[in-house]
């Protein structure tokens, strides 16, 4: 996932599965439970250019990265 560096943005996370998920990123300092079928908005501050990893703490194979450019 690509975002613009040095600009704040809102991450809209929708959990389409039937299980609760936890969007967690130690790099972004976010830990957010997203119940099944729910949508959560997470405000993220302006990021310096770089790569920020995240995962679903309840299902750790589900990982991703946010690249700020």
């Amino acid at each position: 996932m690509q975002v613009k560096a040095n600009a704040p943005f809102v991450l809209v996370i929708t959990n389409k599965s039937a299980k609760a998920a936890e969007f967690e990123s130690k790099d972004l300092r976010v830990e957010k439970v997203v119940p099944a079928g729910k949508t959560v908005n997470v405000r993220i501050r302006a990021l310096k250019p770089g790569t920020y990893s995240f995962l679903d703490d309840f299902n750790q194979q589900a990982t991703g990265r946010i690249v700020a450019e």
Binding site: E22, K32, K38, V40, Q60
Partner: protein, 284 residues
């Protein structure tokens, strides 16, 4: 099964450690009849976790976006406060461990408000509790297929394992000396609180309340804090692979200030003070 086992073990471990420590603590100061403080605190923590879990599932919109964060921050704040308070008190008491056992115990019970133990148990359970409830709930609704059953069983075994570890601390803790128990748990609780303090500062930084600071170091290739070992260290002593300067700084600040408070040498000397209400002779 293995994956869900690790998740609940990690989530439950901190709570089990704290519960193990508070029961041992009560036992050590001869306050077995006050176990109810710990039990009630822990049970209230479970109830609050279920309530928050239900609430999070029912909420939507801005309440769901911000509510859990605010509650999370409040719990961190309360937990750091009671951990510091309790740690300070334990240290004072450990130093005074001289004289006969009964007097010591009476003093301990009289001078330390035992409801703090209850708050400690409550925050210990509640901190990761709502997450665990939601995680388990999701698994149980999926437990209709064999793999679903395996996942749910793994999760329950993980919690049972955490509880067993807490019990082991209680069993083992009974046989070590009071002073050693206080010394070891003081250091552990200090680092646990420092990790929470730093996490709280990081959350505030991410929310824009505190200024943003650059990354202090990056050890994610050596020990990732999302991994099993790194994750445990993260929960226990606040290990972070890529902390910001603010997080690293607040960790050190807490360890420095609370450490000085806890471990300064020698007992505090009572200060000589003029009795109140008396006018010094020379002013008359």
């Amino acid at each position: 099964m293995g994956a869900t086992f690790v998740v609940t073990l990690r989530e439950g471990f901190e709570a089990a450690l704290i519960m193990g420590i508070v029961y041992t603590y009560l036992q050590k100061i001869g306050a077995e009849r006050h176990y109810r403080y710990a039990t009630r605190g822990g049970l209230l923590g479970v109830l609050a976790s279920v309530a928050l879990g239900v609430l999070v599932t029912a909420l939507s919109g801005p309440l769901l976006d911000l509510g859990p964060d605010v509650i999370g921050l409040a719990v961190i704040l309360v937990a750091v406060t009671v951990l510091t308070w309790h740690g300070y008190w334990m240290q004072q008491h450990a130093r005074a461990v001289k004289g006969d056992v009964q007097r010591r115990i009476d003093e301990a019970q009289a001078s330390h408000r035992l409801w703090i133990i209850g708050v400690l148990a409550f925050t210990g359970v509640f901190r990761e509790g709502a997450e665990t409830v939601l995680f388990l709930w999701g698994l149980l609704t999926q437990a209709t297929s064999p793999s679903g059953w395996a996942s749910a069983t793994g999760a329950i075994l993980g919690l049972a394992m955490a509880a067993t570890l807490g019990w082991a601390i209680f069993r083992g803790g009974r046989h070590i000396s009071l002073q050693r128990f206080f010394a070891v748990t003081s250091v552990f609780l200090l680092l646990l609180a420092a990790g929470m303090f730093s996490t709280g500062a990081g959350r505030l930084e991410a929310m824009g309340v505190l200024p943003q600071s650059p990354m202090a170091w990056d050890t994610s290739l050596v020990l990732d804090d999302h991994g099993v070992v790194g994750g445990f260290l993260n929960g226990l002593v606040g290990y972070r692979a890529r902390p910001s300067w603010l997080e690293a700084g607040s960790y050190l600040l807490y360890v420095g200030v609370a450490g000085a408070l806890l471990f300064r040498s020698g007992p505090p000397k009572p200060r000589a003070r003029a009795p109140r209400g008396q006018i010094p002779a020379h002013a008359a």
